[in-house]
């Protein structure tokens, strides 16, 4: 029942957005629906944590701790992005960047986007999982290509083509799993159900499972932004409207990782030799290092943030690849921290880009002087994403690195540590320039600072505060969710 509410409320918000997105009353209305979505997520969380995985729709839906971790983040970041959309879209409309019709398209696609991401996490059937993941690509492509700019169309086209082509490989991989299930005696209807495949995992033909896993890795890995399939990501995340970028980087990547993890769990159980974990570790570390090199030489603010997402998804994947309680816990905690901090940063980027009329890092300087509130928040958020204490990402990064050292895997440990260190240096450098840097005299006439609207402030302060708190104290409910997710990753089942 909560599942229906969880997915249904955003759909309702989408329909209302198409009909009345331009009306002032829509702002509070969509916020109320977004809060409702968070509430539905909370109720579903409580149901799963208290009573174990929830099945519904005759096995069509399956919600366990891993699902709840991902969809809770989607609902939360969805709320924050909704809050930030209100002043952002209003401003874009007033400055003529978005027409009335585009505003309505924005809200229709925006909330549908959230609904599809939520749906990804609750379906049991792997075929439908694939369909819904592709649906997230299609809906978000509309948003990426919303602006009437050649660069936006370019980004949207590359996004749709690369991600669709990429995940078609994932479908091939899923087909192989399905066929393996059918050969192991599973019925046609149930051979695509994750729960069934998990149960039958030891009986599946290892050759098919291995190839299937690799194909799914290429496919969902493309959507998750793992290198070397990440080429579309900086374009799409930087060209989209900033609230959408927050969703893309903050939670869409998580849903792709989620799909990958579901198959990894089956593969791990079927192959039994840690093969899939090793492969994940390799791709994770490569993504981390590739991302870091682009972070160091970056010149565009939003592309910087996009590459940072590749870095963090690489870390999460590496954490899962390292496995063991520390690695898995670190990876899951990192997912939370990254989603929150990255959303804040993209909202801030919206203000910075508007204030300085530019996305170029050469021109966005001295923000503290021009937009004090934004400047302060930028310092905090950039430190958070760079993995500095006392923010939550420090704890999770420490956990992952410790896991590597503890297992005596010196190369991954060293590379991860080096990657994190370089990323910190790069981000810190950029942060100092953005907030405190000297502005060339000729730029004074161009900047156009505006006071921060209350909606925007809330959208930024809430996630930032949460990620700060998480660095010092993990509430019992969150800890239960994390350990539950870790258990699912280790064994497929909740404790």
């Amino acid at each position: 029942m909560w599942i229906a509410l969880l997915v249904g409320l955003p759909v309702l918000a989408a329909l209302l957005g198409w009909l009345a997105g331009h009306r002032p009353a829509y702002g509070p209305a969509q916020t109320a629906l977004a809060v409702g979505t968070v509430a539905a997520a909370g109720l579903l969380d409580w149901q799963v944590l208290a009573g174990g995985p929830v099945t519904a729709g005759g096995g069509l839906f399956y919600v366990d701790a891993l699902s709840l971790l991902v969809f809770s983040l989607v609902a939360l970041v969805g709320l924050f992005a909704t809050l930030y959309s209100v002043p952002y879209v209003r401003r874009e409309h007033e400055t003529g960047e978005l027409s009335l019709r585009q505003v309505r398209v924005y809200y229709l696609a925006f909330h549908l986007f959230i609904a599809t991401m939520l749906l990804v996490t609750v379906v049991n059937n792997l075929g439908l999982l694939w369909v819904v993941i592709e649906a997230t690509t299609l809906v978000s492509a509309v948003l990426v290509g919303l602006y009437n700019r050649a660069t936006a169309i370019e980004a949207a086209w590359k996004y749709i083509v690369i991600c669709s082509a990429g995940i078609s490989f994932a479908l091939l991989g899923l087909l192989l799993l399905y066929a393996a299930g059918a050969r192991a005696g599973l019925s046609a209807e149930s051979a695509l159900a994750w729960t069934t495949l998990l149960g039958a995992a030891p009986e599946l033909d290892p050759a098919w499972v291995k190839l299937g896993f690799l194909l799914v890795l290429v496919g969902f890995g493309t959507k998750a932004g793992l290198a070397p399939m990440h080429a579309w990501l900086p374009d799409a995340h930087s060209q989209a409207p900033s609230p959408v970028s927050a969703l893309l980087s903050g939670v869409l990547l998580n849903t792709a990782v989620y799909g990958l993890l579901r198959v990894h769990i089956i593969a791990a159980r079927s192959l039994g030799d840690g093969y899939s974990a090793r492969v994940l570790l390799v791709f994770g570390v490569i993504s981390l290092l590739v991302a870091v090199s682009f972070i160091l030489v970056q010149r565009d603010l939003k592309r910087l943030l996009a590459y940072s997402s590749v870095e963090h998804i690489g870390l999460i994947t590496a954490g899962v690849g390292l496995a063991g309680p520390l690695g898995l816990y670190g990876a899951m905690l990192h997912m939370i921290g990254h989603s929150l901090a990255k959303s804040t940063l993209f909202f801030l980027s919206g203000e910075l880009v508007h204030g300085f009329h530019s996305r170029s890092l050469a021109r966005i300087r001295g923000a503290l002087q021009l937009m004090p509130a934004v400047g302060v928040l930028t310092v905090l958020a950039m430190l958070a994403i760079a993995g500095s204490p006392p923010f939550g990402l420090f704890t999770s990064e420490l956990s992952i690195v410790t896991a590597a050292f503890q297992q005596g895997r010196w190369w991954p440990a060293g590379l991860i540590l080096a990657g994190i260190g370089l990323a910190f240096a790069g981000l810190a450098y950029h942060m100092v320039q953005i907030v405190f840097g000297e502005r060339a005299g000729s730029q004074n006439g161009h900047a156009d600072p505006q006071p921060l609207s209350r909606w925007a402030l809330a959208a930024m302060a809430l996630p930032l505060a949460t990620v700060t708190v998480l660095g010092v104290w993990v509430p019992e409910a969150v800890r239960a969710a994390l350990t539950g997710a870790v258990a699912v990753l280790e064994r497929g089942l909740m404790p």
Binding site: G127, V161, L175
Partner: protein
Amino acid sequence: MSVIGALALVLLVSAWLVVITRDLTALVQLSAVQGVVLAVVASLAGQAAGADHLYAAALLTLAVKGLAVPVVLQRVLRRIGPLRLPDAMFTTRTQAVLAFALTGAGYYIAAPLAAEPAGNHGAIGEVLPVALALVLIGAFVVVSRRLALTQAVGLLLVENGLFLAALAVAGGVPLAVDIAILAEVFVAMLIMGALVRRMHGMIGSISTEQFRRLKG
């Protein structure tokens, strides 16, 4: 060779034609032909395996891939008018060679998997290699062509290969999944068609060669 095997070869030949043709209208027509052939293959497979849901799948494939999607693409073509733009990145001869190579790769990869038939009446040996070849050739079209519309047709080719692969290794997927996939293909083509039209309206070209603005 069975009828299904022969039809699979027809699909293979149409994929080769997609690679070497330069006429965009012909590309759209080829994708329509593929949709029809796939529908026939699906219904024959359904008949052979006694799986009724494959008839429904065949009908839907005919409607979507055989009719609806080509119509959408044709309308886009009509809107953007006649084109005299370079499309392929390689010469026709190189493309043909690569297409054959990828076909060979399809047969090579399929060989160990096709070694053990599993209740689909031996069609797997004839159909799976073609299916994989379609996927590889489709991906090749996507990366080696400049015109956006051609890339879209390449994606369709990949999708067709997957449908065929599903028929070969697992007797198709559950109908609900099939319906969802076909609906999605249609929506994807609508969205991509809209992007192509906007591209043309904005920069007067649908060549992705123009896509050089985003770097680094």
